[in-house]
Symmetry: C2
Subunit: 244 residues, 2 copies
């Protein structure tokens, strides 16, 4: 969709043709920005990607994103070019604005239940970063790092569908995917035993293989080794944004 | 709407007539639960309040609320009596389910912008609890505790309306109100100088006076002294849930 060079302090704001195409300010390895890429790609909404060096941000970036964070989505067709922030708010907006490929259930109750499952995934995200950022992985064996995943295994088994969204990925699938994709980096950073137990997570592992075949997932996919390389550079205090 | 006795360990799950009326599990002083009371009252949706002692929860409560937290809303008319959690998810659901008194703008972009302002209020919530829970208020004078409020002052001034929602309170008004109401407790707990500067926050102070006249706000309102009394009991490690 665009080159992956990250703009940094001193760089000019990129100029685009007056084509009305959405501008997504992102960072190639940010899982929250990843969510927005997935939703835009799933909905076939064209967009320009502008990647930002988050350690040395361009001087103009705070004028674009009110919190200086990515993801930020600039709506160039709207008067004043408003910018939306916060991954879940942006994705909910996209689902309302581009309803042709709906990602949430229509029923308000079912939609709220999907949002609760998206929110509760935060427990696994916390456990994931505890693993990634831990100084001594040997000390980690006593904790059950995957406790946050059990409800998703159980939920998908109960639904009996290929994806949480049914026969195609829905909002819940895409909102949790960025960390599921990154899970494959752990065996490269902290050791071979950081794989999901195939008995305990049989349904989720089948789901993961199906997600890897999804067109939107493929659009922005990076393998475990590449995620591991980025995470190691970040851990070393020298995040290598432009490594691709 | 209901008595304010909080159910505790050993208490039985209350029985209600099979009246199809929503059940809201709440805590009388919880600002997140307060959000849901406001939305239900604003929309004139009848509900039963069930108050929970959060330090000594009834044994049956984790079966109701999957995270054992309040607010939790039980939809007794739906098959299986599903329970929703998370204040913002519940309020968004109520706005979709009961659209007669709409609280969000219809336009997806305007709605997303309201959600961003609700999200960013978290900065003030953090600053508020830093004040409330600080051991030595004398040390607090160097910090600008109200920095998180400037964008709301500016936003409401620009809108030129009585409320963020226009001529009536909308979702943004109600979602930030619980902490605005509790702000009036600070002069009782940490000192007289914790009032908002009338020059800096002229628009928000006018808004506060108007909110105090709103019917939904009045339904669940407690004055600053009462909030202060509860907060002092909580600080002392002995939260007095049943003080009303």
């Amino acid at each position: 969709m665009s080159e992956t060079q990250h703009l940094t302090t001193g760089s000019k704001k990129p100029l685009f043709p007056d084509d009305g195409v959405l501008k997504l300010y992102s960072m190639r390895f940010c899982p929250y920005a990843h969510r927005v890429h997935l939703v835009l790609d799933a909905k076939n909404v064209p967009y320009h990607s502008i990647f930002i060096n988050l350690r040395e941000k361009p001087e103009w970036f705070p004028q674009v994103s009110s919190t200086s964070k990515v993801p930020a989505l600039e709506l160039v067709k709207e008067p004043g070019h408003p910018v939306l922030i916060e991954s879940l708010i942006i994705c909910d907006f996209l689902d309302e604005k581009y309803p042709e490929v709906p990602l949430y259930p229509k029923d308000p109750l079912k939609k709220a239940q999907e949002k609760i499952l998206i929110e509760r995934f935060g427990q696994f995200i916390t456990a994931f970063y505890r693993l990634v950022l831990h100084d001594n992985p040997d000390q980690l064996s006593d904790t059950d790092h995957y406790a946050g995943l059990d409800i998703y295994e159980e939920e998908l088994k109960q639904r009996g569908t290929q994806f949480f969204g049914g026969s195609n990925p829905g909002m819940l699938d895409y909102m949790i995917w960025p960390w599921c994709e990154r899970f494959a980096s752990l065996k490269f950073t902290i050791g071979d035993n950081f794989e999901l137990n195939p008995d305990r997570f049989a349904t989720l592992l089948k789901w993961r293989d199906l997600m890897l075949q999804d067109r939107a997932v493929k659009c922005f996919y990076l393998d475990g080794q590449t995620h591991a390389k980025y995470m190691s550079s970040r851990r070393a205090g020298n995040a290598d944004y432009n490594m691709l």
